[in-house]
Subunit: 116 residues, 6 copies
Amino acid sequence: MDNNDRKSFEKERYLLNDLLVQYSNKTTKRFFSLDTQAYEGGALDKKTKEMLGMVASLVLRCDDCIKYHLIQCHNLGVSDKEIEEVVAIGLIVGGSITIPHIRRAVSFWDGLGEDK
Amino acid sequence: MDNNDRKSFEKERYLLNDLLVQYSNKTTKRFFSLDTQAYEGGALDKKTKEMLGMVASLVLRCDDCIKYHLIQCHNLGVSDKEIEEVVAIGLIVGGSITIPHIRRAVSFWDGLGEDK
Amino acid sequence: MDNNDRKSFEKERYLLNDLLVQYSNKTTKRFFSLDTQAYEGGALDKKTKEMLGMVASLVLRCDDCIKYHLIQCHNLGVSDKEIEEVVAIGLIVGGSITIPHIRRAVSFWDGLGEDK
Amino acid sequence: MDNNDRKSFEKERYLLNDLLVQYSNKTTKRFFSLDTQAYEGGALDKKTKEMLGMVASLVLRCDDCIKYHLIQCHNLGVSDKEIEEVVAIGLIVGGSITIPHIRRAVSFWDGLGEDK
Amino acid sequence: MDNNDRKSFEKERYLLNDLLVQYSNKTTKRFFSLDTQAYEGGALDKKTKEMLGMVASLVLRCDDCIKYHLIQCHNLGVSDKEIEEVVAIGLIVGGSITIPHIRRAVSFWDGLGEDK
Amino acid sequence: MDNNDRKSFEKERYLLNDLLVQYSNKTTKRFFSLDTQAYEGGALDKKTKEMLGMVASLVLRCDDCIKYHLIQCHNLGVSDKEIEEVVAIGLIVGGSITIPHIRRAVSFWDGLGEDK
């Protein structure tokens, strides 16, 4: 299944999440709610937290995680310039091995803008 | 080539393994036989070893390795509950970055059950 | 601080854990209790789960995590032969880059036996 | 050489940086100036960028990189609560394998506060 | 988009690079030129450097990076036997987790030969 | 145990290797001989292979592996300029997260030269 644009990405997640819940025990389910909780606004606002999630996903090179955080960043009004700076830090920290992921990230981000 | 179900996964492996052997030197070929040997029953039984291979593949986030070990686990009678507990440990050790791989893993595992 | 034997390892953990709790927010504290929960006996027994934690720590190359799981394995009666097989799988999956960690792991494991 | 507090950490860096420059070719030297440039204020302020560097270092589990960014965060006035939230995101994304690094990070961070 | 042969791989790169440049700030653009510079002949010749890039990409398990360096190696006259030895070292260092990437690498390499 | 110079590094290896062999099963022992075999001269000479081992160890950020390959490189007559170019490629591929390892690597390399 291809998930290179927001619609297909979210459809795939939706379809697979049903199975994910079905095969999740108590520990796994509690982890999922912690995962949501970690990005709620606190001393740092949600926007900053989503950019933290984005750079962490980039240096760990997980395309789906990158796409997820890009959608959140887009919803929270992160600008093109801000994403470029998050990407630059991820690239410097993680090196050229992140470039193929950055290529796919900017393509996905560009598509998010076109949805507007 | 898509390899999201057992049949296409095994077909792809079969096709690519021919080339793999053709471009393998002595060191590489010996590694492959060690790789097989490591999972043979000993002080630990094969089932435990395949679950060890599964959790190692999950935290290192290699989809094809996960699928391979899921097939072995399935063949050896690992239950849904057992896989869920292996997945929970992989998720706790490896963090949310493993979630997209878990999503694909449970989808593949679910398909294995339907083959029965 | 050196932590190459059980006593100094556990002393360091004890000292640092105080600070860890002091600087942990709700999300972090909940993660810690999930981390404990994941290794409780269920469909898989505790011994199997600690070996899963051990191999995951080995392929991710975290010395302190390896030591922690080796202590748990030791407490639960995992034998030398079983540890050797867990290590062999970690080595095959993770490659020669794990060898320095294995060197330190067997040294720590050997020390655990001498405590008896 | 131990580098668990700011003074010894900065002394070690100072001593080793001389050798580092001596064995750096043009590419390496240019990388170092890019590395500095990436954290300069722009669309995102320096404080946000240092927190991005911190979370990236945490999920990639590099103690020295974590210490470096903690010093920068401290200099820029990042609060305890903010660090705790950065750490919580790193822990959720990177999993329990990051815990030993978090233990050392909060100990180092605590020491920075005592310097004041 | 599938990129399993040279033509489709290079087409995808070409298409995405336009977006990549559009969303690259000064730091990112400078990194790209450093990335090119690092592989220019010096004390080590270009061929050796591309093999270094290849083994680094293999142990870090980045398919697109592997493909890129395989194309460069092919252009510079690296032989099948030489690639097999680079692959063997990557496999030994990185372990069985690299095998799916090696499978795809040799398939791509084999295709490069057929272009001649 | 500190291993920042050749003598103490080799002493530590020597001491720990005894235990390593004692706790190694057949699979592990065979892996060790494969590991040696992979670096023997073939289509590529030993010097090139040790530089491949060095860059792979650098991007995977294993200090002990780096030190081991630096000793081999030194024994085989790799020059300062050549090491600098290997390091530059590792830095570009692996990013700033490799810098603390590079700092320790050049310090170790510098010490090897002084032994002469």
